[in-house]
C-alpha cells in the first residue's frame, strides 16, 4: 500500500517536471533540446534528486500574537520565514490563505507537517514555534526564541534553519551568506550579504581588484585573487580577524583558489613555471604539487565533494573546455563536447551535478550536467551574460552573475533555472559570487564589519 502510494507520488512528480520542461521547450528550441531529450534529462535529474519527490508538504499557519498586543516585528518574522521556506526548495509549502489542495498533491503525499508559532510582546519579543504531524496532534518539536525587534530577520533565518534540520536533515541554507566582488570607484572589493540579499557588508579596502572569492568549508575564511608583490597573487581573508594575508605569491599569474571539501588544501592556477597550470597546496603551507603539464591555459579548478577529483578549464584543444582529473593529476578527461567556449565549472555539494558556463548564440549561459557529461541542460536564457555559478551548500540552488538589468547583479535560481531571485539590487556592479557553508554566526558577521579599518 505504502509503496504503491510512493510510486504514485513519483509518477506524479515526473508528470509535473516533464510538463514544466515541455512548457519551457519553445524557449530552448535554439538549443535543439527535443521533447524526448527533455524527458531523458528529467529522468537523469530525477534519479539524482529523487528526494524531491518526497518533499514534505508543509502547512505554515503563521506566527500569531498570544494576546491582543501585536508587533510589526512579527510581520517581518512571518514574511522572512515564508520566503526562506520557499527558497530552500525542500518543502511543498502551503500558506493559510491558500485553499488546501485535496485532489492534487496533498492526499498523495506521505509527510504532512504543520508549522506555527505564538508570540508575546515585551521588552523583547518571545516566539514559541512548534511542528506537528497532524493538526490535532501534540507537537513533535517546540522551541522558544527571544530577540530584540531589529533582529526579526536573523531570528526568522534561525527558525527556518531549525525547521529544515528537524524535518529534512539537509544543510540549512537560510543561515548562509553569499560573498562576491563589488565594484567601488572602478575597483572590485570583497562584499557579502545574506543568501536572500540583505545585510550587505563590505569586507576589504584593497584598492586592487578582488577577484574569484572562495568561501572556506569552515566558514571562517575567504580566499581570493588580487594584485600583490608580483601580479595576480592569492590571498586569504579571515572573517574573525577582518584582515587578509598573502597565501601564494610568485612571479606570474597566481589565481582562482578553490578549497578542498575538508578545507586542508587549496587548488589554484599559477604560471610560476611559465604557463598557467593547476596546482594544489596545503592551506597551512608546504610545497605545492603541480597537477597539469601542457602549453595551454589551465585554470578555474573546483573539487568534487568527495575530494577525489578536480574539474577545471583547459584550452589545450584551442578553445576553453571543461575537463575532470583525479587529484593527483591522473585520468584527465573532457567533460564538455559541444560549444566553443565552456568554462567556470562548479561541482554540486551533492556530487551529482556540475554547473558551468557556455558561450551560446544568445550570450553566455549557465548549463548543468552530470559528472559523466551525458546530458547538458541549459539553465539560463536571454541575451547577455549569465556567469560564475556557485552552489548553495544543500545543492538545491545556484548563485550566478547576470547583466539582464543592464548592470551586473547576483541572482539565485534552482537547478532547472526556475525560481530566479535577484539578490543584489543596488547600482554597484557585482560578480563572482561564492556561497558560504551553513554559518553558526551568520547574524554576527554584519556587526562591526562595515567601517573602513
Amino acid at each position: 500500500m505504502n509503496s504503491s502510494l510512493h510510486n504514485r507520488s513519483i509518477l506524479f512528480f515526473v508528470i509535473i517536471v516533464v510538463s514544466s520542461i515541455c512548457l519551457r521547450a519553445p524557449l530552448q528550441a535554439q538549443d535543439s533540446t527535443t521533447a524526448a531529450e527533455a524527458k531523458h534529462i528529467c529522468e537523469v535529474f530525477l534519479r539524482s534528486r529523487v528526494a524531491l519527490a518526497d518533499r514534505i508538504l508543509l502547512h505554515y499557519l503563521g506566527v500569531k500574537s498570544g494576546d491582543s498586543l501585536t508587533d510589526p516585528a512579527a510581520d517581518t518574522l512571518n514574511q522572512v520565514l515564508v520566503r526562506d521556506l520557499t527558497l530552500c526548495a525542500l518543502f511543498d509549502l502551503r500558506l493559510p490563505n491558500v485553499k488546501p489542495d485535496t485532489v492534487g498533491a496533498a492526499h498523495l503525499r506521505r509527510a504532512v507537517t504543520y508549522l506555527d508559532g505564538v508570540y508575546a510582546v515585551g521588552l523583547n519579543l518571545r516566539v514559541k514555534m512548534r511542528l506537528r504531524s497532524d493538526f490535532n496532534a501534540k507537537p513533535f518539536w517546540e522551541k522558544e526564541y527571544q530577540f530584540a525587534r531589529d533582529k526579526a530577520r536573523p531570528i526568522a533565518h534561525r527558525i527556518a534553519a531549525d525547521v529544515i534540520r528537524q524535518c529534512t536533515g539537509e544543510p540549512a541554507i537560510t543561515e548562509t551568506r553569499i560573498a562576491f566582488s563589488g565594484q567601488v570607484d572602478g575597483v572590485k572589493e570583497l562584499f557579502s550579504m545574506t543568501f536572500d540579499g540583505f545585510d550587505l557588508v563590505r569586507h576589504t579596502w584593497e584598492k586592487n581588484p578582488v577577484l574569484s572569492p572562495a568561501w572556506s568549508p569552515n566558514g571562517k575564511q575567504i580566499a581570493f585573487t588580487s594584485f600583490g608583490v608580483y601580479q595576480a597573487d592569492i590571498f586569504i581573508y579571515d572573517l574573525d580577524a577582518k584582515s587578509s594575508r598573502p597565501f601564494f605569491s610568485a612571479p606570474g599569474v597566481d589565481q582562482a583558489p578553490a578549497w578542498s571539501p575538508d578545507g586542508q588544501w587549496l587548488a589554484y592556477s599559477s604560471s610560476v613555471d611559465g604557463n598557467a597550470e593547476i596546482y594544489v597546496c596545503r592551506t597551512d603551507g608546504g610545497v605545492a604539487k603541480r597537477l597539469t603539464y601542457s602549453w595551454s591555459i589551465e585554470t578555474s579548478p573546483c573539487w568534487s565533494p568527495s575530494g577525489h577529483e578536480i574539474a577545471y578549464t583547459s584550452d589545450q584543444l584551442g578553445k576553453p573546455q571543461v575537463f575532470i582529473m583525479d587529484t593527483d593529476g591522473a585520468n584527465q578527461r573532457r567533460l564538455t563536447m559541444i560549444g566553443e567556449y565552456n568554462d567556470s565549472p562548479a561541482w554540486s555539494p551533492r556530487g551529482d551535478l556540475i554547473a558551468y558556463v557556455r558561450r551560446d548564440t544568445d550570450g553566455f549561459q549557465i548549463y548543468v550536467t552530470d559528472p559523466r557529461g551525458e546530458r547538458h541542460v541549459k539553465a539560463t536564457t536571454g541575451p547577455g551574460y549569465n556567469m560564475d555559478p556557485s552552489w548553495s551548500p544543500d545543492g538545491m540552488r545556484i548563485a550566478f552573475t547576470s547583466d539582464r538589468t543592464g548592470i551586473f547583479q547576483i541572482y539565485t535560481m534552482d537547478i532547472y533555472g526556475r525560481g530566479v531571485e535577484i539578490a543584489t539590487t543596488g547600482t554597484m556592479n557585482c560578480s563572482n559570487p561564492t556561497w558560504s557553508p551553513v554559518l553558526e554566526n551568520m547574524g554576527d558577521i554584519g556587526i562591526n564589519n562595515t567601517k573602513e579599518p
Binding site: 577577484l211 595576480a232 589565481q255 592556477s269 591555459i297 585554470t299 578549464t313 563572482n432
Partner: protein, 191 residues
Amino acid sequence: MKKSTLNRILLLAGLMLLIGVLAVGCAKKPPVKEEAPPAAPIVAAPDTAGQAARAAAEIEAAERAKREAAEKAAREAEQGAKSSLQMVYFDYDKSNLRPDARSAAEFDAGVLQKYASWTATIEGHCDERGTTEYNLALGEKRAGSVKSFFIESGLAADRFQVISYGEERPADPGHAEAAWAKNRRAVLVIK
C-alpha cells in the same frame, strides 16, 4: 690583583689621552673654516677682472642654455618615442600576433632598440567576454607573445616584465565589438 689594578690605570690613562686628542682635534677645526673666506678675491678685484668674469659667465650661461635646449630636445624626442609606441591588438580568445599586431610590435621593437636603457612592463588585457579567471590567464599569454617577439627581435629578456589585468582595466567601457576590439590589447609601459 695588583696586575689588574695596573691594567685599569693604564686603560684609564689611555682613554684620557684619547679624549684629549679628540678635544684638540675638534678645537683646531674652527680656525681652518675662518681662514677660508679671505681667500675669495672677487670683492676687492679691479674692474677689468670683473668684465672678464662677466664675459666668462655669459659664455657659460649660453653654453648651459644650449646644453639645456639639447637635453630638452632629447627629452622631448624620448617622450615622443614613448608616445609613438604602438598598441598591439588581438583577436577574440587568441594570443597569437596577427599581421597588423606583428608590424606594431616590430615598430615598438625598433624604438626599444634605439633606447637601450629603457625597461618596460608589458600589460596584457582582454575584452569583457569570458570569465574573470580565463581572461586573467589569456591576458598573460597575450603579454607573453609580445615579450617573445621582442626577444626574437634581439632585445634582452630582462628588460621586460609581463603583467595581466584580464578584463579588469578596459580601454573602452563599451559593450560592443568596437569597444571589445580596443580592449583586447597589449600595452608597453616604459619605466
